[in-house]
């Protein structure tokens, strides 16, 4: 009963957050002194063409009206224009990009594989290296290993992703010429090329993100290693490897998973800068294009989708926490 209520409240909260994000995005972009219909006006643009374009795209109404149309479209679908030239966008309709002649969901779907490839590959890499380094640092506390792991993690936290990315391109792409620079090859086209082109972006993202995991794991591990049951395990004569691997590590994973969920959610929502640096055609690139072209429906769709991923990640993390640690449900 209590769990169901907890889950229900959490989900309802998530929907409210998404609604607020959509509303504020709409309001903010409506205030931008730009007229999306100018894009569709043609050259030479006349007042009359402009009015026609505006009317067809549904940009003639006040912003709250447009927002309600949008929200309604999610539930029932939408039709733009009338007669044989009308464009239908079926439910759930998250908008229609007039500039690309496609509904927004399709556009996001097309970019998703790129961002997923980028984020998931990087996540595996940083999880392994970050947690590994953290464990190592904790077990060998105070030694050179510990210092090295911490120094690397400070560097990782400090260096902005675009800076590391550019230096990586400079060093490995141009000077050493060992990895290809930029571009994306679909996994289905060639798995080898796919991975090969993503190696550099993966490593760069991993370097920046792993730092947090190293520190977190190390701190958590040090705490755990001081606990009584670990001492008991040690005194029973278990090998250090077993103590760390079987008993301590399990305890460390909960906070790590928490951070991981949130990180992954926000990364999937658009690795704007990484995609720009490496020229990857993912969701972040789509978003920046949408901003530049003032493609309002697309922009709204991308923002909502990013928020959706972040909120989902948060909910999942919360639910996991609730399940793993019943005390959380009560607070």
């Amino acid at each position: 009963m209590r769990t169901a209520k907890f889950v229900g409240l959490r989900l309802a909260g998530a929907v409210v957050v998404l609604f607020l994000v959509a509303l504020s995005t709409y309001a903010v972009f409506y205030l931008v002194p730009a007229d999306p219909a100018l894009q569709a006006c043609g050259r030479p643009c006349t007042e009359q063409n402009l009015a026609l374009a505006r009317e067809f795209m549904g940009f003639g109404d006040p912003w709250y009206r447009q927002f309600l149309d949008f929200a309604g479209g999610v539930v029932t679908g939408r039709t733009f224009g009338t007669g044989p030239t009308a464009i239908t966008c079926e439910a759930p309709c998250f908008g229609y990009s007039f500039q690309q002649n496609t509904d927004v969901i399709t556009l996001i779907g097309e970019r998703l594989p790129v961002t997923f490839s980028l984020a998931l590959g990087a996540a595996v890499l940083w999880l392994v290296t970050g947690v590994g380094a953290g464990v190592l640092a904790a077990v060998r506390r105070g030694t050179g290993w510990d210092r090295a792991a911490l120094a690397a993690s400070v560097a990782g936290v400090s260096a902005p992703v675009y800076l590391v990315g550019l230096l990586g391109i400079l060093l490995f792409g141009f000077t050493l010429d060992v990895v290809p620079v930029g571009g994306y090859v679909d996994f289905t086209t060639s798995p080898v090329d796919w991975a090969w082109r993503l190696v550099l972006p993966w490593s760069v993202l991993a370097f920046s993100h792993a730092a947090v995991y190293t520190r977190l794991t190390r701190a958590q591990m040090l705490d755990t290693l001081n606990e009584d049951y670990i001492r008991t395990a040690r005194s029973k004569g278990l090998t250090e490897r077993k103590v760390v691997g079987k008993h301590a590590l399990r305890n460390v994973l909960l906070p790590v998973v928490t951070v991981f969920g949130v990180d992954l959610g926000s990364l999937l929502g658009g690795a704007v800068i990484t995609e720009r640096v490496f020229g990857l055609p993912g969701l972040g690139a789509l978003l920046i294009d949408a901003v530049g072209l003032r493609d309002l429906p697309l922009l709204l769709g991308c923002t909502l989708f990013a928020a959706f991923l972040i909120v989902t990640a948060n909910v999942v993390v919360d639910l996991c926490y609730g399940v793993l640690d019943p005390r959380a449900r009560l607070s």
Binding site: L38, Q100, G279
Partner: protein, 556 residues
């Protein structure tokens, strides 16, 4: 406008031609002779390639021309002035001084589906461009054809009054006023045929019925578009398309710097490829030491007029004397370097409004000075105008795209030498368009822009930028220049049917407008493109500054 022009450029543009300094060498030589056959690749940073004629603003010699023919076409050869030539039809006849125009289609023309192309199909295509769902393309005809001001397309049953089709090979246009450039206007995309009754769907661009040498066989947005031969196209009935490659494949959504790296590397299929976007100054610097790649850069001889627009409605720039000072204060040499690294790659210093390669152009310089300007003279003029201590706080808006901020800083630093202090305000593409051309009253003092005519007539150089009807509401008269005499002269020149006579009138207007200094002409912007080593006969004529897609081929 800069951004929009750029977007057009990116989508529609180009191929690379034979050698570096393409302009200095003969355009074809034995080892790069283009042969028939093979698959040509075009690498584009755009996500889409638009083959809907109603929504296209493509030039007559670039991508759209591969699939769609129009009533007329452009004669496009290096070293020769552009002129209008027959395509589907002849170049038109008028018997009443340019108010009604009659075109006769060639015999035996067919669509890719085998059906005959008739005057009804051309009419349908033009009518279709009036539908609200298909706006966005070049619309020079929309205000000119009789009845066009209230027409909303054919899909609700109405017909456009000003077009008659007495027989399947004849089409007659009745205009609201005499218009000498009408044969040029019918070379714009909306005058491509669309089979009568078709094209109601929003995605017509993805399966258009072709009249040109190629048809769209496969289209994946953001990935590729594959053009194959149109079996019903007849080489003998087309004098502007060589149609050499068997297939043309667009690779879409490629990052611009990646395109440049691939073409520099010149490996595998990329040997038969060229990039449709401009090669940037940084990319050009990168390949400066690469002899092979350098030879595969094709740079246009001239190009779009880059200019500094001065808001003539707002003090202190409403004073012509103050504006004249800007003619001398600007550092065009620094602008060249900021644009492309060297004057040779950036393009020549501009002193006229009409661009090179356009019939009737006269070269003159009303404000002679070094390319780097004459700040002392500018200071003197400002003092005479009542500003002995210079000007300050001028609002300088610039679009973020196309290195706008960098170029603006070069202008800013130049003006500062003459005591003119400006504040740069950078805007995203559409916000920029709204602010400079959308708003009825402009807040800015200065803005950077560039303009390339949509068809090769001085009319298309001057009218959109300086007629008072083009102020605000999406028009491109960014200087807000309002001169009743100039308006009247523009009307007169537009009504002149004889090209030589019209040319003279436009050249006189060019001078007359610049005497008022609504803009400072900066440079005729050269565009550079990269091609693979097997791409041949990729040339850029004097106008426009884009390669001719219709003539390119592959060497053996």
């Amino acid at each position: 406008m800069t951004r929009r022009r750029l977007a057009v450029a990116v989508l529609t543009s180009a191929l690379a031609l034979s050698a570096c300094g393409a302009n200095d060498k003969p355009q074809t030589n034995a080892d790069t002779a283009a042969a028939r056959g093979g698959t040509l690749r075009i690498l584009s940073d755009g996500q889409t390639v638009n083959y809907d004629p109603a929504k296209s603003s493509s030039l007559a010699i670039t991508s759209l021309g591969l699939v769609h023919r129009r009533l007329t076409a452009w004669h496009n050869k290096p070293g020769e002035q552009a002129k209008v030539v027959p395509d589907l039809a002849d170049t038109g006849k008028t018997t009443d001084g340019g108010k009604t125009w009659t075109f006769t289609l060639q015999e035996g023309l067919k669509f890719s589906d085998g059906t005959p192309i008739t005057s009804e199909d051309v009419k349908w295509g033009v009518q279709r461009s009036f539908a609200p769902a298909f706006s966005g393309g070049l619309g020079y005809h929309k205000q000119l054809i009789e009845g066009g001001d209230t027409y909303r397309g054919p899909f609700e049953g109405a017909e456009l009054k000003g077009i008659e089709t007495p027989d399947p090979r004849t089409i007659k246009f009745t205009l609201v006023r005499p218009y000498g450039d009408w044969p040029w206007v019918v070379s714009t995309p909306a005058f491509a045929p669309v089979p009568k009754g078709k094209g109601a769907e929003a995605d017509y661009a993805e399966h258009p019925v072709a009249s040109g040498p190629y048809q769209l066989a496969e289209y994946q947005k953001g990935v590729k578009a594959r053009l194959t031969r149109n079996p019903n196209w007849d080489q003998a009935k087309d004098q502007v398309r060589a149609a050499l490659p068997d297939e043309i494949v667009w690779q879409l959504g490629q990052d611009a710097s990646v395109i440049s790296q691939r073409l520099v590397a010149d490996a595998g299929d990329d040997k038969a490829a060229f990039g449709s976007s401009f090669v940037s100054a940084a990319q050009l610097a990168q390949l400066a030491n690469n002899t092979s790649a350098k030879e595969r850069v094709v740079t246009s001889k001239s190009g779009a007029l880059a200019y500094l627009a001065l808001n003539t409605e707002k003090a202190p720039l409403n004073n012509p004397k103050v504006r004249e000072a800007f003619q001398y204060a600007v550092d065009k040499a620094a602008f060249q370097i900021a644009s492309a690294g060297t004057p040779a790659l950036a393009g020549d210093v501009a002193t006229t409004l009409i661009t090179e390669g356009i019939a009737g152009r006269e070269k003159f310089d009303l404000y002679p000075a070094q390319p780097s300007g004459d700040p002392e003279k500018a200071k003197k003029l400002l003092a005479e105008a009542g500003f002995p201590t210079g000007l300050s706080g001028l609002d300088f808006v610039v679009s973020k795209s196309n290195n706008g901020p960098d170029k603006a800083q070069a202008i800013q630093a130049g003006l500062a030498r003459a005591g003119i202090q400006t504040t740069i305000r950078t805007l995203d593409g559409d916000a920029y368009t709204e602010e400079t051309s959308g708003a009825a009253a402009a807040k800015f003092d200065l803005t950077l822009a560039s303009w390339q005519p949509d068809f090769p007539s001085a009319n298309a150089n001057i009218q959109p930028l300086f007629q008072s009807s083009e102020i605000g509401g999406g028009g491109y008269n960014l200087s807000r220049y309002r001169n009743a005499e100039v308006d009247a002269l523009i009307g007169e020149a537009q009504a002149t049917v004889d090209p030589a006579e019209a040319g003279k009138k436009w050249a006189a207007l060019d001078k007359k407008i610049l005497q008022d200094s609504p803009v400072v002409p900066l440079i005729y912007t050269r565009n550079s493109f990269l091609r693979g080593s097997k791409v041949a006969n990729l040339f850029i004529a004097d106008f426009p500054a884009y390669p001719n897609y219709l003539q390119v081929g592959l060497s053996k």
